[in-house]
């Protein structure tokens, strides 16, 4: 088969620790990247701007969150609020006359700063209590945004994104917006992959698994938890800004509500906690499943296969979506990434069935 482990030997530590030690994986990544770069050439604008683009940005957001939840083990149920802070900051910075590039960094920094503040408040606790604390944070941020018209944009509570250029490219055409999103997704991906294989990531995982054991080997768990909140909030903030500028082109408070936080968590979990490929798969699933289900049910109704009231029709996708999330947790708690991994392993050890005995 195309996956071959035999004959792949590493004679240097450098190659053994590279990102994709298996050549077949490496090839896949290059092919996918090439396909992504060429997408505007072969993809209709509907798919490019309604599916590919939001998928990339949400994947970046899910990656930021999986860095915090999966790698560092800090549960966060208010990540949409972090993204909101990024989105609103970036727009206000651009409106204040600064270049977009600065606005992106500013968005990251404000989100990171406020994210850290909340992180610090919750650092004494973990697990469920962190869930609750971050949930409260989501409400607080929402309340502030809604109640300060200067942030949310006056009576209409909407801010249109101004026209901007990024590295001298005007961000107007579908393609330019798409490449912006792609670039961001690639950066976040590389960052998370590299964090996971270097000492920073190991320290985060250590703090996640056993914070007292981590501290005795010299890891300051307080500092690393904060760093995790900082890094991931930074990435989340920038993702929020990218989402606002490249996709919505307007921000309203509802775009970053509590249910969005839940969706982000669902992306991370359905994809597979801590997995990079999982973030992509999970984001795709959570983003597309409701859309796909809605379209499918609507199609079935139009064809006359499904004759129920329009009310029930509209709620079937919701039920199915809830059921799918439950189904994933019940049948593959390790997420889509695990399913992918199983398939890959199958090919890796092919023609044998077990990798261990």
């Amino acid at each position: 088969m195309f996956y071959r482990l035999s004959g792949v030997h590493h004679t240097r530590y450098e190659t053994a620790r590279r990102l994709w030690p298996v050549p077949a994986d490496r090839w896949q990544v290059w092919i996918l990247l090439a396909l992504a770069v060429a997408a505007p050439l072969y993809m209709s604008d509907l798919y490019l701007s309604s599916y590919m683009l939001p998928w990339l940005v949400w994947s970046a957001a899910a990656l930021s969150l999986t860095l915090l939840m999966g790698v560092a083990g800090q549960l966060h149920f208010g990540f949409a609020a972090v993204m909101a802070i990024g989105a609103y900051s970036s727009i206000h910075i651009v409106r204040a006359g600064w270049p977009f590039e600065i606005a992106l960094i500013g968005a990251g920094l404000t989100a990171a700063f406020i994210g850290c503040l909340f992180g610090a408040a919750a650092l004494r606790v973990k697990g469920l209590y962190l869930v609750m604390a971050t949930l409260a944070m989501q409400y607080l941020v929402d309340w502030v945004i809604i109640n300060v018209p200067a942030i949310s944009g006056g009576a209409q509570a909407t801010l249109q994104t101004p026209d901007v250029t990024f590295l001298f490219v005007p961000m107007q055409s579908d393609a330019a917006l798409y490449y912006g999103a792609l670039l961001w997704a690639v950066i976040v991906t590389l960052l998370v992959l590299n964090i996971k294989r270097t000492s920073f990531g190991r320290a985060l995982v250590a703090v996640r698994d056993k914070d007292y054991a981590a501290s005795i080997i010299g890891v300051n768990s307080f500092k690393y938890k904060l760093l995790a909140f900082f890094t991931s909030s930074f990435l989340g903030g920038v993702s929020g800004a990218v989402l606002a500028f490249c996709y919505y082109q307007a921000v309203t408070p509802e775009q970053f509500g509590f249910n969005v936080s839940i969706q982000l968590v669902a992306m991370v979990l359905v994809g597979g906690l801590g997995s990079v490929i999982g973030a992509y798969l999970g984001a795709g699933f959570v983003l597309l499943a409701p859309i796909f289900l809605t379209n499918m049910v609507a199609y079935a109704a139009i064809q006359g296969w499904l004759t129920v009231s329009s009310n029930l029709l509209a709620h079937i996708p919701l039920m199915a979506y809830g059921a799918l999330i439950i189904g994933f947790l019940l049948f593959e708690p390790l997420g889509l990434a695990k399913i992918y991994d199983n398939i890959r392993k199958y090919f890796l050890v092919w023609p044998f069935r077990h990798s261990r005995s």
Partner: protein, 293 residues
């Protein structure tokens, strides 16, 4: 002063109304160790079922409530059998997400089958307030408060029984409960069933006030504040924290809202959650995790 007293009383009663939802969360957490974020949706389903039995099957209201309680107990058993049984030993985040998945599912199910537009459910409680001095007390909440106290009392008694002890053991350690012959499945099922019953109570009372629709599921948020403050596994905590959350959530907005010009009750609720977690994560009465290095 009368203003303060009115805020205090109505706040206390509202708090007890929140306790009705919170009680379900605690009942489940106390025996299954599962933080049930679908409790709000269960309250909604409870209300829908009562409405359905009362207005579609034309049962007398109180018969409908009783029947709904039985039905929701069954629903609880079913939830254990189909969902939670398989989740034993999974990390907490997975279980939290599972209950959120359940909440999404239920939010589709109730309004989908029975109609999304609001239904009215009339308990026949008069609108006129109980007036003491210059203080107006809400009759709906008065009834709710009394029901809440009764349910909390019953739950307290229940956990004193031998079955209750077994349920507490289960929340401590599933595997070792099995090892000494406790049927963990049944224990968890019972706790979900009881939570289903308390959901009917909460759903009926809240539904009569605001109508029955999906927004009943948003009662989750104040209920979460109550359980965090009271302690996730403390039944008496539900009562005390319900009162505190209700009173603070009434008195503070009563004075602050006019100044800031916004509805600050949820801000107060959020801050209660945040401060509890910062100062005493396990809440007023909750048990502390025994963690040894």
């Amino acid at each position: 002063m009368a203003y303060f007293l009115e805020l205090l009383f109505n706040g206390a009663l509202t708090g007890l109304m929140y306790s009705l939802t919170a009680l379900g969360i605690v009942l489940i957490y106390k025996s299954a160790g599962v933080p049930n974020l679908a409790q709000g949706a269960m309250v909604m389903i409870g209300a829908y079922v009562v409405w359905m039995l009362a207005s579609m099957a034309d049962l007398p209201l109180y018969a409908a409530i009783a029947l709904a309680a039985v039905g929701m107990f069954g629903f609880g058993l079913l939830a254990e059998r189909l969902l939670l049984r398989k989740m034993v030993g999974q990390p907490i985040i997975m279980i939290v997400m599972l209950t959120l998945g359940l909440e999404i599912f239920l939010r589709g199910l109730g309004p989908g089958l029975l109609g999304a537009s609001p239904k009215s459910l009339d308990l026949g409680i008069p609108l006129t307030p109980v007036i003491i001095g210059d203080v107006f007390i809400n009759r709906d909440y008065l009834v709710g408060g009394i029901v809440a106290m009764i349910l909390v009392g019953l739950s307290l008694l229940f956990f004193r029984t031998r079955l209750g002890t077994k349920l507490r053991a289960v929340s401590d350690d599933h595997v070792s409960s099995w090892s000494v012959g406790i049927s963990v499945e049944r224990a968890v099922g019972i706790s979900w069933g009881l939570a289903g019953i308390s959901a009917v109570a909460a759903g009926t009372l809240w539904g009569s006030v605001q109508g029955v629709d999906w927004t009943l599921s948003t009662l989750l948020f104040p209920a979460v504040a109550v359980v965090i403050l009271g302690g996730l596994d403390s039944i008496i905590g539900v009562l005390v924290a319900g009162l505190i959350v209700g009173i603070l959530g009434s008195v503070i907005p009563g004075y602050v809202d006019p100044i800031v010009g916004g509805g600050t009750r949820d801000v107060v609720t959020s801050l209660i959650i945040l401060f509890t977690i910062m100062i005493r994560p396990h809440g007023i009465f909750g048990r502390e995790d025994i963690e040894r290095v």
